[in-house]
Symmetry: C2
Subunit: 337 residues, 2 copies
């Protein structure tokens, strides 16, 4: 007999929010990635071109966390025509000691949103100037909103600018965020203007060509690019590599799926050039920002350690609160089929 906890999206929204504890949890995962024998295999990818579908499977075992998560993220881009969201998915939490299923986290991608935003906060916490108070967000989707919320958790953000290709969407989001976070948020029509005088810039778009140019960067800025998670996506002008201290979430991934991939392709960076990872900066074994004038650049493609961290947090919170449903899954030993 094994007991499996089933948590719906509603249960998970009640259990886990984007707050400092979620940021701390994801920070621990990045630290473990740099300091412990984490096992994080390459992403499994299934494509179903017939329905414009793509499915990513990520996982990581992180010593110190009781469970490991396997996350399945389907994106089916004809879904909106059917009145359905494009992105879905779930996480499954397994005991790292026995491999038994402990929790089914039917989050429809919610936990990914949280852990992705939390990684942005971790990057800002370790790379942005301590006194960073002006933020710029490129994009107007869910992550645009959440990355801004994440920054407010780790830096004294007083005002924000939002730029998006669709200015009307930027305006809508700016109005919503201003109300929600109690800070001054404005939509800016020109991306260069949006960056001028800003301290932290986060790009959250699915752009396939650079939307942020190297010459726009100013001394002291921190840049986080979190939009690219596949080979054809590219938000940042590769020339930024010559101006900024580059930090990857996971080098083996950003070389293939991140902004680094495009810098390598453009020839501005060598395929094996060494760069630091965020976990090493957290651990203090690699340098991030060394002065108030440095320009820092975090390239976040999303890692299995974040999923494992957030899934452990969710299940321990939900179990503590007694939420969710439990299924008893009886095992028949040695029976014939």
């Amino acid at each position: 007999m094994s007991r499996i906890l089933i948590l719906t999206e509603k249960d998970l929204r009640a259990a886990v929010r984007l707050d400092v504890s979620a940021v701390d949890c994801v920070e621990q995962a990045f630290l473990a990635l740099a300091t412990k024998p984490v096992a994080m295999p390459p992403v499994l990818r299934l494509d179903i071109p017939e329905f414009r579908g793509e499915v990513d499977v990520k996982t990581a075992y992180v010593p110190g966390f009781d469970g490991f998560a396997i996350k399945i993220s389907p994106g089916f881009f004809d879904n909106p025509k059917l009145g359905l969201p494009s992105l879905n998915g779930l996480m499954i939490l397994f005991s790292a000691k026995t491999g038994l299923v402990e929790g089914l986290l039917l989050d429809n991608g919610y936990l990914t949103d949280v852990r992705t935003a939390a990684a942005g906060a971790v990057a800002a916490r370790h790379l942005a100037r301590e006194d960073a108070s002006v933020a710029t967000i490129f994009g107007a989707g869910m992550q645009a909103r959440m990355q801004l919320a994440a920054l407010t958790l780790v830096r004294p953000i007083r005002s924000a600018r939002i730029w998006a290709r669709d200015h009307a969407r930027a305006e809508t989001l700016a109005a919503e965020c201003a109300g929600q976070y109690g800070i001054d948020v404005t939509a800016v029509a020109d991306p260069r203007d949006a960056m001028r005088g800003s301290h932290i810039v986060v790009t959250t778009t699915p752009a396939e060509k650079p939307i942020l140019m190297a010459e726009w960067l100013e001394a002291g800025q921190h840049l986080t690019a979190m939009g690219s998670d596949s080979e054809h996506k590219n938000e940042i002008d590769p020339a930024v590599f010559a101006r900024a201290t580059y930090i990857a979430d996971r080098l083996s991934q950003t070389r293939i799926l991140g902004e680094l991939h495009h810098a390598i392709k453009s020839g501005l960076v060598g395929a094996d050039d060494p760069f630091a990872e965020l976990g090493a900066v957290i651990a203090g074994s690699a340098k991030g920002r060394t002065s108030a004038d440095d320009v820092t650049f975090a390239d976040l493609t999303g890692t299995g350690v974040q999923d494992t961290a957030i899934a452990n947090l969710a299940v321990s919170r939900a179990a503590g609160a007694g939420s969710g449903q439990t299924i008893e899954n009886e095992r028949e030993m040695g029976g014939d089929a």
Copy 2:
């Protein structure tokens, strides 16, 4: 709102048995693999050496099946010390059109047992002599039992021999099978004796060195090796490649995980030598057995298409029978975290 069907092992044992319909279902999957644009990415593998754990994730999209399965198979080999089985796992069935989760199949590996045995039946149906009536099974575990049961579904098996390293276990299994399948089943202490005069030989062991020698093969025999599913496993003497017509379940997999891998390593076969796949034999586009005297050799490492096939069968059967539990998973659109 999406509805997700949750099926326990008990539900699944009631819905799917190893019978001709399961064999037909898996046969359709192999046929599709040969004739349709199936998407089957390489297996994702996570190792947790700290607890002697390994996790495989397999998937395949098979045109013509409504859903695609993702199967997660953990093996934690210290579990028996804790009174737990080593092998566990579940399958998740997604709509191939929208990527939405349709079913959570908490099978603890049961469906894998069925689809693996069914593949043995498919191989025998297409490669063994029509009149094959004597079967030999190497091994005395669950698959030994199930492979024998599978053969009885597709060939007029009248008698069987079981050989295992542990002869007492072979005797126990022989007694059980004789009672269950109403055929003559004997445990044989010498593997060569066990093969003499047999028509179909199936190896089901986790051997890491060959347990079946090429010189033991007789004209007309069909051999299925299904024990090897990882690089270090090897049941069959590579010299068999010179005596038998070799058929892979999936060449790109058997070159890495199957018996072919060891034949390549031994230098008896080239790394790129062309061989037929089972699906092509089913489709009639590749030759399998061409005469009663041929020796045929199927190398089964287990493929994602089998999982997708059996998961679709299970969910459609269970839904038809009204079994399992349904979870309503409400989606909150556009909410902030």
